[in-house]
């Protein structure tokens, strides 16, 4: 009644069967995960693609200048090299010049 060899064969068969089915299931799960991640990546990629466009629009010099004017309390202005003084004498000389030109402006207005 009890056939040892058939029993061994069956055990081997069932072990291999279980092992294979585990591998098969794992593969399927991995594959599904890969597909899910690919979908997610695709979504993110597409979002990033359009967000980049928004970024370049929002960080364009025009928009930044407009936003600074609208939202910032600081007033930004470019400084000329000629307005940077390296000594008190230089500053005083420049002040004299400005006064002169102010007088000239008055003269211009008088004329």
């Amino acid at each position: 009644m009890f056939n040892k060899k058939i029993f061994i064969s069956l055990i081997v068969f069932s072990i291999l069967m279980t092992f294979t089915s585990i591998i098969k299931t794992k593969t399927r799960i991995i594959e599904k995960n890969v597909l899910t991640y690919e979908k997610k990546i695709a979504n993110l990629q597409n979002h990033l693609y359009e967000a980049e466009l928004d970024y370049y629009y929002l960080s364009s010099p025009k928009i930044i200048s407009e936003n600074i004017i609208e939202y910032s309390d600081e007033e930004y202005s470019s400084v000329d090299y000629s307005k940077i003084y390296f000594s008190l004498d230089q500053f005083l000389n420049e002040q004299k010049k400005s006064t002169k030109s102010f007088i000239n402006e008055k003269e211009i207005k008088k004329k």
Binding site: T20, I30, K39, S60, I84, I108
Partner: protein, 590 residues
């Protein structure tokens, strides 16, 4: 039993007879238990079968495991789809490459967009649908829509939907609205590059500007992930545009243009033509005011030609910068025309002073000494008389003219000769970079031809640079307003009267071509103002004094604008300010 034994013996005998290998001389023998042997053999053959089965099983499962292992390995080695650049539904694959500026800032990109089409058969309540459309899209004509709905044919309700419009239509929940997927081109800087980028049609074919010139390259699917990089700089472009817009306001001009170019490589860093337009709106622009003034505009640019006249005279060793030309009259008759000066000038002027003080008659006299043929050849060499090769289809072709009587004299100071500002700037680059012709270019990775053609010697170029600097620094110079501290600007002004149908009007076209820094010429900046008016309210900082004026020459508007632009773009171009460095920066000894 006996019977059985006899039978067995007979059988043995028969067997022994059958056995061919029967040895007659065999002396020993043994008894074989046939029953046991047979059983053993049976067992052995059974165990062989069983082993074979196990082997087959092992082999079968081994194959299965191998297949799955291969699958797992292949999945792990598989390159993600989004990196493959293949067309599929999940990953958006643009039909055209991106365009970026030299810093990698995006200036043009394709995005997924939709057309809204209608299948009238699927709309149950047409009255309700019409009402919804009227509420959400009042600009769509109700009568036409009604007609189309009754026609029962598939039609487009609205093309190139914005995200907001798409949402509105989607929320209507109408089955009959079909969203047709398509791609549209977006320009994040809107009007900033309108004259350069151009536009594409609904089928993604470039129809103007860079989009047209590089159409095949932009559609190359092999390079679809790589952007096309242009030489332009968004920050510089914005600053130039902003100053030019301000200048239109200050001088009430009808238009303005600016060009910034590297004089060694020909790379165009900024190209602005005003008025401009928002390219995202895809309006049909046909008015001549919207012409690209830098590449397509053909103008008489006036006195900027004097630089070419004097450069050629120096190159031919006819004069030195200090050669004095005596008794220059205040006006001369040339055929039926009278050539006069714009201002009262001394009768004796050196060649250098002729350029610095912009003497028309002085230039005409020098040109006479050069001769017509040489002068013509020189202008041809400078590529001022023919259409320039450039990466835009919108290129102007200088008006052809006959070199008849008096033409040489007038051309010598830029009268009666037309060219595009781009050509003039390229010629100035050649004058100041040591004498090499440069090819203006918009493409960043394009390498300049090493065997560049030389038009003047290095010595002549150096002389010209000194003179151009004096135009800005000399008290008689016409471009004092561009003397920006630290940037060593040199240049030449050009004030020309506009010509309408062969008649000169009082409307002006003022140009200033500047080169900076003159101690190591690197950039050429051209500023052009179209029909500027005097700005008496504007206070100029003129040679240390604040003054107002009603004058309307280039020196009082184009030069002023160029000075303001250089002040702003200079630090971005990272020009070493030698004046500051040499005088104020303490050198590190160690």
């Amino acid at each position: 039993m006996n019977k059985k034994k006899v039978q067995n013996l007979l059988l043995m005998k028969k067997k022994s007879r059958k056995n061919k290998n029967f040895n007659k001389n065999q002396k020993s023998f043994y008894f074989e238990d046939y029953i046991e042997t047979n059983l053993k053999q049976k067992d052995r053959s059974k165990s062989f079968i069983s082993e074979d089965r196990i082997y087959i099983l092992f082999f079968f499962f081994f194959c299965l495991i191998t297949i799955f292992s291969i699958k797992i390995t292949s999945i792990s080695f598989q390159e993600p789809q989004f990196l493959q650049g293949k067309k599929n539904n999940k990953f958006f694959l643009p039909l055209r490459r991106d365009i970026t500026d030299r810093n990698g800032d995006l200036i043009s990109r394709n995005i997924r967009s939709y057309h809204a089409a209608i299948k009238p058969g699927l709309i149950k309540d047409k009255e309700k649908f019409l009402l919804n459309i009227k509420l959400n899209f009042p600009e769509i004509s109700q009568d036409q829509l009604k007609k189309k709905l009754l026609n029962d044919k598939y039609f487009y309700l609205k093309k190139r939907l914005s995200a907001e419009e798409e949402n509105k239509l989607f929320l209507l929940g109408e089955k009959g609205i079909i969203f047709e997927s398509m791609q549209s081109r977006i320009y994040p800087h809107a009007e900033l590059y309108s004259h350069i980028l151009g536009q594409i049609d609904d089928d993604n074919y470039g129809i103007s500007g860079v989009e047209k010139y590089f159409d095949n390259e932009l559609k190359d699917l092999k390079k679809i992930k790589e952007p096309l990089r242009l030489t332009l700089d968004t920050n510089l472009q914005y600053l130039v545009k902003k100053e030019l817009e301000q200048s239109i306001e200050d001088f009430k001009a009808i238009g303005a243009a600016g060009l910034l170019m590297n004089i060694q490589t020909g790379e165009v860093l900024s190209l602005v033509s005003l008025p401009d337009y928002n390219i995202n709106l895809r309006n049909d622009i046909s008015h001549s005011d919207y012409t690209n003034k830098i590449t397509k505009g053909i103008f008489e640019l006036g006195s900027i030609f004097k630089t070419f006249t004097i450069a050629l005279a120096l190159e031919k060793n006819l004069f030195t910068p200090d050669t004095v030309i005596k008794n220059i009259p205040n006006n001369i008759k040339c055929s039926k025309y009278t050539i006069s000066e714009h201002d009262e000038l001394p009768n004796d002027l050196s060649v250098k002073e002729i350029l610095v003080r912009s003497s028309n008659i002085g230039s005409a006299l020098i040109a006479k000494d050069i001769g017509e043929e040489s002068y013509k050849n020189f202008l041809n060499k400078l590529k001022l008389l023919n259409t320039l090769e450039f990466e835009l289809n919108e290129m102007g072709n200088p008006i052809d003219f006959r070199w008849d009587k008096c033409k040489l004299e007038t051309v010598s100071y830029g009268h009666g000769i037309t060219t595009t500002p781009l050509q003039a700037a390229a010629a100035y680059a050649a004058m100041t970079n040591g004498g090499y012709l440069v090819q203006p270019s918009l493409r960043l990775d394009k390498t300049q031809d090493i065997n560049m053609e030389r038009v003047i010697s290095n010595e002549t170029s150096k002389e010209i640079n000194l003179m151009l600097r004096e135009v800005v620094t000399s008290k008689h110079g016409t471009a004092s307003l561009a003397n920006v501290f630290g940037f060593d600007v040199g240049g030449k002004t050009g004030t020309a009267k506009k010509n309408f149908y062969g008649e000169y009007s009082n409307k002006k076209l003022n140009t200033f071509i500047s080169v900076f820094p003159m101690y190591k010429p690197s950039y050429v900046l051209l500023v052009l103002l179209d029909e500027p008016k005097p700005a008496p309210e504007l206070v100029y900082d003129y040679r240390g004094q604040k003054i107002t004026t009603k004058r309307n020459e280039s020196g009082w508007n184009s030069v002023y604008v160029a000075g303001k632009i250089i002040k702003k773009i200079g630090p971005i171009l990272a020009i070493n300010n030698d004046e500051v460095y040499n005088n104020h920066v303490v050198k590190k000894i160690n």
